[in-house]
Symmetry: C2
Subunit: 174 residues, 2 copies
């Protein structure tokens, strides 16, 4: 499966596309960051972010979109713009009928590094290793977007296996 | 001028269109609420809200869009969805090149009732009187959307007069 991971933000919105499946090596398809100048109005910035996401969806036709889950307790000065960028990302995906998954930062850190409290450098290093890249993707928003996509592929698979096991157990019980 | 006022929200998004200019009676063009069931996913709800806003923009071709300004200090349980709905509203307007203005609740209350701490009932009553309606628009989200549009027409006018006066003063000073 091919997944677009999105680390939402008004100033920098990380976008990373990863392809692969559980138990097989994952591959980098694309990675980048949409940046918008703080001098622009918020509506203008959101429209530019929407165009950036649409361009990746058009180009790479992912099977799913994974977006970082935002919490209201995060930094108050940036939370509104981050929430709005995440909302735009959700709409871009849902308009095309693509499944949207939200993963928390600690879920992503745990999935790629085994440690839900890993720092940015550890996440970046693990993304580099998992995707067998020559260098760590920069900025951190780009690495985080790839980590989200990796998390989605790995967690989606385990979730599917759990559901299959439960369904099988249900059939035996009947 | 014709203004679409939007009181953003995931559960109820108020949409009100008002036409008129400073010093002349304002007229109601349209008012309604886009509702989305809480059982839907957030991406599905945002797409539905986007469609509702787009339909009003198509039908009424407003000159500007006025949206309630959201603060991060508001109720944490609903703030994320409200921020996201506001972000979608901004994008719908900005994609068409329409000016977007954000007005705070106290600016709206002060504009329509003369009291920045007016309650919902007072705002609703003033909207009813200003637009010469037979009954108060319901629910409150619908009345708030109309109040936003009224505020925009009235404040926009005073803002334009202030800017014109400053420009004239600047010409004299040179």
């Amino acid at each position: 499966m091919r997944v677009l991971g999105i680390d939402p933000g008004l100033t920098r919105c990380g976008l990373g596309v990863v392809e692969g499946s559980i138990g097989r090596p994952l591959g980098l398809v694309d990675v980048g960051v949409v940046r918008t100048p703080s001098a622009w109005s918020v509506p203008e910035r959101l429209v530019f972010i929407e165009k950036g996401i649409e361009a990746r969806l058009d180009e790479h036709a992912p099977d799913a979109v994974a977006i970082e889950r935002i919490f209201a307790r995060s930094d108050v000065s940036t939370i509104m713009g981050t929430a709005q960028a995440a909302g735009i990302a959700m709409v871009c995906a849902a308009r095309r009928g693509l499944p949207v998954a939200l993963h928390t930062p600690s879920e992503v850190k745990a999935a790629v590094s085994g440690n839900g409290r890993a720092d940015k450098a550890q996440v970046g290093a693990m993304v580099t290793r998992i995707l067998r890249l020559d260098a760590m993707p920069k900025p951190a928003d780009a690495a985080d977007a790839l980590a989200l996509a990796i998390t989605h592929i790995w967690r989606g698979g385990s979730q599917a296996r759990i559901e299959a096991a439960l369904a099988a157990a249900g059939r035996k019980a009947r």
